[in-house]
């Protein structure tokens, strides 16, 4: 079945050597051999169709026309042994804790800048730094990060590294559940003889975490009214919003469903106005409130920030989180961990060069064909140079960009991202993968076991983003067992 599968010089999640799986994939491998290729192909079609029928889609905008697309699903799961997972879990809690302390510090006394750990201009010049709007607030549990999505990769030695922090509006949680659901429906046999962590209670954990953010002046602190604020059905992550609202049993609202009167937020119901206590917003800061941010925004709610600052409503994730998760600040997260927690980072970063630094810039400009260059403000795989895959012209374009705006870019060595087998169009082939781990925090922090494994289904491609042809995989965290993995 995998006789033609070539591992080359990459770290493979599943295979140890030709036709020899790693110990934690042995059962899966055995199970796989009982299927025929035709059978797998047929199941694959069923799985893809199931996503389409259920409308589990994201919208891709091409000029003005929006097309609804499904994220392709690949059935070969990423299996993570329990001891690996425990390390990841600890590392993620540690990282999010430090990032949260950083946000709290930055919007208060800025000790970390005074102590010379982080250059002040990196904060001041950050477009997502909202000093005026977010400073000096007493928010529930001093917690700015209700839901974080941390993207992990593995290098050629199998070492996990953090690639990116998403502390604003990380999406994809619904896919974790839907991938598992479809997997159980279409490939129930593959679960035999595997003891894996279930996802059953995760949404109730999420709900509990959300409900903890009772604002200071709530009139019903024991039974707060929480809503999910979406930009609407034309947003690319709308399915994520629908799913989470539905599963947590909270109203899915748009900006036009809310209004602020005397600094209190209400939603418009068929019985009149109803007071809102907690807003899980999936709208970016800029669009939240035309009075406080972009005055042209029609998505938000006028007066929302005043209600927030008065402690009449909680908004999660917190306002101004973007200052902590851009690609430039990323490089300082290990220092934050040392500074605030006095610990060494459990999961390391990818080495990062700052192009603002002349010495580093010179090095990068000399090695553009070996490096990855990223725009610090962009996401979704846009405005990015992958040196080893780029032509001369593209490299020249980026050289100009860097010289013009050195602060706008960072560079990283091209990591040989780990690979795993994918099955599409009737055959197995190796594809690069990464893993988005979700950390939810209310009164306490909790890491969802597994997460969203994203896969670059185009052969040889390094881009896993769904907007650029990436797909998803189910992620299995094995339960701790005495012997072996049975």
């Amino acid at each position: 079945m995998l006789e033609h599968y070539e591992m080359e010089s990459f770290f493979d999640e599943m295979m140890l050597a030709k036709e020899q799986p790693k110990p934690h994939y042995e059962h899966f491998y055995e199970m796989l051999r009982r299927f025929s290729i035709d059978n797998l192909h047929e199941k694959n079609e069923t799985a893809q169709l199931s996503f389409l029928r259920k409308g589990i889609t994201f919208t891709v905008y091409n000029e003005t026309v929006g097309t609804e697309r499904t994220m392709p699903f690949d059935f070969v799961p990423i299996i993570i042994p329990s001891e690996n997972w425990q390390r990841i879990e600890k590392g993620m809690k540690q990282r999010v804790k430090a990032l949260n302390l950083f946000l709290e510090d930055i919007y208060r006394d800025q000790e970390i800048i005074k102590d010379g750990i982080i250059p002040g201009e990196l904060v001041e010049q950050n477009p997502y730094y909202y000093r005026e709007q977010a400073s000096g607030l007493d928010i529930p549990y001093q917690n700015h990060i209700f839901l974080a999505g941390i993207d992990l990769i593995r290098d050629e030695h199998g070492e996990y590294r953090v690639l990116e922090d998403n502390l604003r509006n990380p999406s994809g949680l619904s896919y974790v559940f839907q991938n598992r659901y479809v997997m159980r429906q279409v490939y129930p046999e593959l679960f035999f003889e595997h003891a894996i962590e279930t996802l059953e209670h995760q949404l109730s954990e999420l709900h509990q975490a959300l409900m903890a953010y009772v604002p200071a002046n709530s009139t019903s602190p024991d039974n707060p009214c929480a809503v999910l604020l979406t930009p609407g059905s034309y947003n690319s992550a709308y399915y994520d919003h629908v799913f989470l609202a539905q599963q947590m049993g909270i109203e899915l609202v748009e900006g036009r469903d809310l209004l602020v009167r005397d600094d209190v937020v209400y939603m418009k119901t068929i019985r009149g106005l109803k007071r809102v206590d907690i807003i899980y917003r999936r709208i970016d800061d800029d669009f939240l409130d035309p009075d406080a941010f972009d005055p042209k925004s029609v998505l938000g709610v006028r007066g929302l920030l005043r209600a927030y600052r008065k402690g009449n409503v909680a908004i999660v994730n917190g306002i101004g989180n973007g200052v902590a998760d851009d690609k430039a600040m990323y490089a300082y997260v290990p220092d934050m961990i040392r500074y605030y927690l006095d610990e060494e980072p459990i999961i390391p970063n990818v080495e990062t060069y700052f192009l603002r630094n002349e010495e580093q810039r010179t090095y990068v400009l000399d090695h553009l064909d070996e490096l990855v260059v990223k725009n610090v403000g962009a996401s979704g795989g846009y405005d990015m140079l992958i040196g080893p895959h780029a032509g001369k012209e593209e490299i020249a374009v980026f050289r100009e960009k860097i010289l013009e705006k050195p602060n706008q870019y960072i560079a990283q060595p091209t990591i040989k991202l780990s690979r795993a087998p994918a099955f599409q169009k009737g055959r197995f082939y190796p594809c690069h993968v990464d893993l988005r781990v979700f950390v939810m925090s209310g009164q306490e922090s909790h890491v969802l076991p597994g997460g969203l494994s994203r896969v670059a289904l185009q052969e040889g491609s390094l881009v896993v983003n769904s907007s650029q042809g990436g797909g998803g995989k189910d992620t299995w965290v094995l339960k701790k067992r005495g012997n072996g993995y049975a």
């Binding site: 409308g55 609407g232 059905s233 629908v242 418009k268 119901t269 068929i270 009149g272």
Partner: protein
Amino acid sequence: MLSRVADSLYWMARNLERSENNARVLDVQLINMLEANDTEVLNRDWEEVLEITASLADYQVQYPNLKSEEIIHYVAFEPGNFNSLVNCMTYARENARATRDIIPEGVWEGLNRFYLELPAVRRNEFTIQEIQNFLNTITMTSMTAQGVIESTMTRGVPYSFIKIGKWLERAEKTARILNVICEKARKEKQGSVNHHYYWLAALRLVNGYDAYIKEFPPKMNAMHVLHFIIEEERFPRSIRYCVDHVMETIRKLEKGEVHHYSERLFHLLETIQQEISDFNLEAMAMEELMGFLDHFQNRCIQVSRIFSETYYLIEPIEIK
């Protein structure tokens, strides 16, 4: 429940009901077309189809002649026709999409499936068979959605908004169909053989033929047919049935109480019920009957507006 969500549920139901009704009207006409051999009669029939499912005047702005292929295309697919089948089904799906967290999964999946299969539908140079299959798919999609709603939804607020939308749409359409048929009958001389054919058409267009012949002989008696379609309280497509059910549903929604905000709505519905009770077919000339039907259609528009205002479905004008 959010007002916006209530509004979407109401319009999802209306658009679905409208699609199903217009699909049936077109389907009835396609069968007529096969049977008829008189071009003049056929043209008049097409005018009626346009009157019932869209607007004849709007159509004539765009197309100078009545050609069956063009009309079929207009009623079924024309993007510029607000009430074309594809438009209504797409609105219904959009409304369902905006209320996915409220409606049963099966309703959304049915409407989504229809939408996903739309690109495969031939919109030019179609055969009659293809159009009939398309109409059949719409009917099945609508009926399946109604089945899922009936068999799985809790009889709560969202359910009520769906049902009110459906009945109001149906009542209005039934009145419109009768109006168009009456207009046609009026133009013809009394007692002509065509009368039999008109009342039969009316029953078919409102999907009441099967129910009617279980109660009356298949000889089409104008009085019987009109009574059945307007007043029969057991026939779920009659005007009276729809109005009574809107009233009953709103009463339940308000737990039997009338508050200052719902007063206008109750009053209007009671007035309409009274008007239907006072309706005396035997004493009416055709013109009066048509006046009644016109009046009733205006009443439906009024109910829709006041209903929307009562539950804040319409943005009130901001007072500064």
